[in-house]
Symmetry: C2
């Protein structure tokens, strides 16, 4: 197994055997450990001393179900802290089959040139070529991907930045091809597209033809685990075929959160949106059924996924508007902007994909713009225009490309729904207290995936926790979820396995068996979760050296004095509760 280092200063590369310290790491554990070990926490995120790391999950390339997620890591230009951004694609398996534990992108060109790095596999080793890519700069990724695939084999995997990354926006993700070779799978959060752009890396291409199977230490144990995991996923109501996610996609959450009074609406002015039903997962399913004349179930982001939660939104002529409409994108550009028109939201998402913009950061940014009076809430055309300006790099677009926190600053608006500079996702922390603890304390900036307490607080999965209860138990809940999440993010499993393994104990056993089978270890469940906690500690240590303190682990002040309808609640967890999350880790 290799660590491949790409030197973008002189376009050379180096292949290293994986050192002992990294042998048992995958995904987030790999990216965060490497960034912790090698990047000066005070380095400028877009300077020559930051690094960008791609790492497949530990189980990548195996038959573990829904294990096609990988991690991209670096110091974030959005938060100024460490960042792991997670994505599902064919990529992860391809990296694993090529023996790549990590690709580390280093240095930067002295000029502003852009490059393609093409990684093939010959005689048991990766082989790297650098090519000029300036001709692709400035174009929509929906145009660029077909051009690339026409030129290359249809079997390669392509990671790319859009114009947002070229322009080095703090709001810029990294695109990975979906199973139809479109630019729609995103390591979206935290501005890693800009880090890739700052290194002059436009495309990273993997050609995994003629690669061997992934090896594991104990195939039998792995197979046992894999079976338990599969059974749990196939049984649980949320994850089973034609279950909640497969039928309605992640946007099934719109109605649920709206009902709970926790769907942030019009830049977090309310927890309830009168147009929720019109943009909900159910509405997507029904609209498609009516337009396509049949029930359409969802597809996967990566091979071997049994959950298959990715939808496609079709227009009146049965043409695809976009794939897919995630809950977060739907909410950010919908409820949060006062927009209840699904087709318009789909077109906005497509623009974001084409430019490489994070849909959450974009929707929250535009919500702040609306809250500040530049355009009205509900203005669909205005929103489309602003996203276009972002993609094209007009001065207004550059302003918005900085992300929600800075746009709030530009308008002198204290109503900035952000933590550590990153926009909050689709759960109101005043109405769902546990997720507020996660937003405030995770090393990532406001991020629901870092510790998804929504499971017990809203979905009655993995127990029950009253969302409005404001006490120390929420810190314990968030801490537990954050550690377990770091383990899942390192395994390469999709976070959605959590629904099944929290409710079905044999599913959790399956996860541990898979990992032990892969590594030849003998970890207990507690020991495995402790490896997740260790990842958090490294991330936290990095952030502390970068200048973060407990004062950064706070919800925005306006949420402490502004009551959120319909429950009329404020952010009322004490600083001590927040500080106990990492204080007691």
């Amino acid at each position: 197994m290799w660590i491949l280092r790409l030197n973008m200063t002189d376009r050379s590369y180096k292949i290293e055997e994986v050192p002992e310290r990294y042998k048992q790491l995958g995904g987030r554990a790999m990216t965060s450990t490497l960034i912790h070990d090698e990047v000066d926490p005070q380095a400028h995120p877009l300077g020559p001393n930051n690094k960008l790391v791609f790492a497949p999950g530990l189980l990548a390339g195996t038959s573990a179900p829904s294990s096609g997620r990988m991690s991209v890591g670096g110091k974030s230009p959005l938060t100024g802290g460490i960042k792991e951004s997670n994505v599902g694609s064919e990529w992860s398996a391809a990296m694993a089959r090529m023996g790549l534990k990590a690709v580390v992108v280093e240095g930067q060109p002295a000029d502003e040139s852009f490059w393609t790095v093409h990684i093939a596999y010959k005689e048991g080793k990766p082989v790297v070529e650098f090519q000029q890519a300036d001709e692709y700069v400035g174009q929509d990724l929906y145009d660029v991907y077909p051009m690339l695939y026409e030129k290359l084999s249809n079997k390669v995997q392509v990671a790319a930045i859009g114009t947002s990354g070229e322009l080095k926006y703090a709001n810029s993700g990294i695109a990975f091809n979906d199973m139809h070779k479109g630019p729609t799978r995103y390591a979206g959060r935290g501005g890693l597209g800009a880090v890739m752009g700052s290194k002059g890396l436009k495309f990273l291409i993997l050609d995994a033809a003629d690669t061997p199977r992934v090896e594991m230490a104990n195939p039998e144990l792995f197979r046992e685990g894999q079976k338990k995991m599969r059974e749990a996923l196939m049984e649980h109501a949320i994850t089973k075929p034609q279950g909640g996610l497969n039928t309605y996609g992640t946007a099934i959450l719109i109605n649920i959160l709206n009902e709970a009074g926790g769907l942030p609406t019009r830049n977090f002015r309310s927890g309830r949106f009168e147009g929720a039903a019109d943009i909900a997962g159910e509405a997507i399913f029904e609209s498609n059924k009516e337009r396509m004349g049949k029930e359409i179930y969802n597809h996967g982001c990566s091979p071997g996924c049994t959950i298959q939660c990715s939808n496609t939104l079709y227009d009146e002529n049965c043409e695809e508007i976009v794939s897919c409409v995630e809950y977060e994108s739907d909410w950010a550009l919908g409820a949060n902007c006062g927009i209840a028109n699904l087709d318009a939201i789909g077109r906005m998402i497509k623009l974001c994909n084409g430019y490489g913009l994070d849909t959450i950061e974009t929707g929250v940014t535009i919500g702040v713009v609306m809250d500040s009076g530049m355009i009205e809430f509900g203005d669909e055309q205005g929103t489309l225009d602003l996203i276009e300006q972002m993609g094209k790099g007009t001065p207004v677009g550059r302003l918005l490309g900085m992300g929600a926190a800075d746009v709030a600053k530009a308008f002198g608006n204290p109503r900035s729904p952000t933590v550590k500079g990153q926009a909050m996702p689709a759960y109101e922390p005043r109405a769902v207290k546990g997720i507020g603890v996660t937003y405030a304390t995770t090393t990532m900036g406001a991020d629901h995936t870092a510790g998804y307490t929504i499971a017990p607080e809203i979905l009655s999965v993995g127990g029950e926790s009253d969302p409005l209860q404001a006490d120390k138990a929420k810190a314990d809940l968030s801490r537990g979820f954050q550690s377990t999440t770091a383990l899942i993010d390192s395994s390469g499993h999709c976070l959605f396995i959590a629904f099944a393994i929290l409710d079905i104990p044999s599913g959790f056993e399956g996860l541990i068996d898979e990992i032990n089978g892969m590594l030849g270890t003998n970890m207990t469940q507690e020991e495995a979760v402790e490896t997740g906690a260790e990842v958090l500690r490294l991330e936290r240590a990095f952030n502390e050296k970068a200048g973060f303190t407990n004062a950064d682990d706070r919800l925005p002040e306006f949420m402490k004095y502004e009551k959120l309808p319909p429950h009329n609640v404020v952010a009322d967890l004490s600083d001590e509760v927040m500080d106990s999350v990492y204080g007691e880790l």
Copy 2:
């Protein structure tokens, strides 16, 4: 003596006797202690829980020479830390005569209304009136001030925000009238205009008619001190009449710093500017002489100033272009933008004054814009256009109004010459190491006035220190200057007395005698400087609670790897040296 509290939420006010803790404080000591004691360090700078404090220096209203400076304090929207912004005007004496130790502005209107607060003096007490001021919003302060003065007595003092403060820019100062009732004296740094704007306070007006003399505890000791101070100021080559400052203004430093290779040029790409002589103080003097047909010496910013360093720049028709052209403004919009045209620079400064923009932050912001390729270095018309957009609040203007650090972020440009979010002034920290220590460590963000080591490093005042020497001595030098400066900023004296009192020991004795005479104390020189150190400790404590750490006490990373011509030097002082400044305070 009173503390006057203005409640902008309901437009009421309260007059309090000065509590014991505050009785011996003035200027910066007053603003920083009050902010430390009363403002939550985690409050949003533009939210209802920040406060804005106006405080005259301790010696305000007395005959101490050059003691007409005052302080404005608050939590800064630019740095996120505590801020004291210092200004010379007739204001300080007027406040003192009205018995006002501090005016504290609290709360904010629920709507976006703007108000005038008119403070008169009747029967030994301030009397306050609130009036709507919406009719003045959106206008140039050069138009507004004459309108106000026509309406009111010519004897009132007016503090105001321009459009930049109304728009709540992080780059927005507070204007105070000069001795000709123009809007040209600025508490410019740190965005306190936005804090005033967020409180809906457009004008703060003082009517100090029929006010008594300022009382002091030991008039005889004060008079002795005042005499020593005056003699020192009249003797020193820099501060005496028709000396360096009175003849050439602060811009006398252009040629000196250029010679030393420490004049930041084209966004800190060089320490030497080929056009320096064309924009130097000598050029201003010669241009005026030629155009006006006589030698013109400078005037004071406040009554009783013996230094009188404020110039006026005249055009070919003997009309005033602007007053005054300070070294910092001249450099920021000149050398730093590659512009060598004095008249154009004068017009840029006038625009900044009219809109309430800090000239340093504006010039460095535009330098970053040029460095990022949006306009070319040297583009005079482009610069004028951008400043106009800032004043008018176009989206581009709003972007630039965020200040240099954020504009660098918007352009993904690591070459951001800022510390703690505040733009560096006119001394290159790679070429003048001591001032780099001050930039990095002061509680204020990059600020030369916080510890002006230029005196020994460049001017051979108060000893000599090789500007290129990189060792621990620079930390000790900066620490000493920072403490003494905090004392001077609290006294109400102009910082320029430092030239005289550092070289002439009886001058320093005079300062201490003045203060002891005022307060009836018996402090030694060391004890007095220790009160300055105590102010720094309070400021530092506030910043720590706001989330600052040693990691914020650093020069920008690019200065560590990019060599600065002509000396080809980098920022090479260790983190340990930086941390010893406050570590050993």
